[in-house]
Subunit: 274 residues, 2 copies
DNA sequence: ATATAGTATTATCAATATGATATTATCATA
DNA sequence: TATGATAATATCATATTGATAATACTATAT
């Protein structure tokens, strides 16, 4: 085994080397975290007396009110603090900017194109977050930097290169592709369009071999509801009997049923976390 | 749509804002890339007159000969240059430190624990590289920093938390786990044990739903050879008829066969890249 | 009370895929 | 010509899949 303290060619021990090490010898750059937060908007559609849940996949966007990209929509993000891990930074920034706390996150991808930010070299570690919207309340942002917070609905069928984002309340519509930085023509700030696209592809991929989708769901849900979520994330329709067979392993029936729907009730299930 | 040039609360246009922006307002930190390079060591075992290829999965390690972690084994890595993307940085560093050029890489994970490097805050974007060893030649490193370059054999059965690394030529053996930084007890430099573990899990996972494994293989190979590679990456034995059925979709027979093996020859196949 | 329309759920079945074992093929040597 | 070893295919019971059909249940309309 190695015997410490070793001395290098200059006769220095590791402790001595570190005392004379100059961090300013390198290029100035910053590291930020930006989080793609997905949730499901589950609104009740009523046609005559009949009721149906319509599910939408949504992503949380903030309107920037300072330079750069003033006026454009962006992901919640911020710089990594001195004494926190990347995961901690992502959670802290999310809490500060949106009020969302204790959410499921996973690291997504790191974006480091030299021209992705006009201020300086800023390397962004992107995170994916999934939340059950019914459990959380968005706060009014405390920072002066953000004027607006909105859930944009996502339309992203399979085998399409671009995705459509719609903010129904304001009638705003954004078309997002994967353009390389500086993505000046993008309706989103910086390269955040690429981040959202990457997040969607990760979610679409992982939904088949992990259980992350249940982070989007309330404690109790119907199989039909669950299938619709698989369909909007996967971007394609599924056959109900096939879906039910496969999902049965992951969920447990509660014996409770939906009511007053104008058709046969659906049973409520919970995630089988075992 | 947004009308440019917009002015912020201070009456500044974006151009004016950028002119007065101070990059030195933030913490000093650096970003590096470290690459986990895997390849297959395919050595011919001879028992009496009979010959058999024995496959080993190996990872490329460099012995550090400067502080910090002087004397420990590390992954090829270096700092990200001012005007290059992260991918370009990974490829450049790999070329400079090992002589490997034009290899398959993909971004793996970003490690950013505050104590992962004793010099300063250094955030590392880890890459995974897969090469066919028969196509490349390791050069003697040009940098004074490295005295040794070695392919360590990997032993990593399924459902084990740690992996064993062996350098047969030197009789060296390392046991690597996933200890959080600062990983002072690790036989590897910094948190590079975690990087290798992460790379192995990525490879093990992706081998089933992508074709990345062919980056490890020479142009022509036998199915038995291919199965052994799946087995050492997956960490478990596979049934030959089952494996053959599944892999048949991805490969094309050449009509050529191995020779002088002391048993029935195997046909050589190529990757069906269509 | 009964019919109706709509969604929820299960039944059914052919086709395909899988896991496992057994059999055959081929070569270099004894 | 026999032997032992690996390569490759055959076989088959079982499990899974894709698809369609049939049944179940409820809120309203009649």
């Amino acid at each position: 085994m190695t015997n410490y303290p070793l001395r290098d060619q200059n006769g220095l021990t590791e402790a001595a080397f570190l005392r004379q090490y100059d961090p300013d010898a390198f290029e100035r750059l910053a590291v930020s975290v930006d989080t793609v937060v997905f949730s499901i908007d589950s609104r009740i559609q009523t046609e005559n007396y009949r009721k149906l849940d319509e599910q939408k996949l949504t992503v949380l966007l903030l309107k920037r009110n300072e330079h750069p990209c003033l006026g454009k929509w962006s992901l919640p993000g911020g710089f990594v603090g001195e004494k926190e891990t990347l995961d901690q930074a992502a959670l802290r920034v999310l809490r500060d900017k949106t009020g969302l706390d204790d959410v499921y996150i996973e690291q997504l991808y790191t974006f480091g194109h030299p021209q992705r930010d006009p201020r300086m070299r800023i390397i962004s570690v992107a995170y994916l977050a999934l939340i059950d919207r019914s459990q959380y309340q968005l706060k009014n942002p405390d920072s002066q930097k953000i004027t607006d917070l909105a859930w944009y609905e996502i339309d992203f069928p399979k085998n399409t290169p671009t995705l459509r984002l719609k903010w129904e309340a304001a009638g705003e519509m954004l078309e997002v592709g994967n353009s390389p930085p500086p993505a000046l023509g993008s309706p989103l700030a910086f390269d955040h369009g690429s981040l959202i696209l990457e997040g969607l592809l990760r979610l679409r991929n992982k939904i088949d071999y992990t259980d992350i989708v249940f982070n989007l769901l309330p404690g109790k849900f119907t199989i039909t509801h669950l299938q619709q979520i698989y369909e909007i994330i996967g971007g394609e329709k599924l056959l109900a009997p096939v879906f039910r067979r496969k999902i049965a392993r992951k969920i447990t029936p509660t014996g409770e049923y939906t009511q007053e729907r104008g058709h046969r009730p659906s049973q409520l299930y919970v995630y089988k976390d075992s």
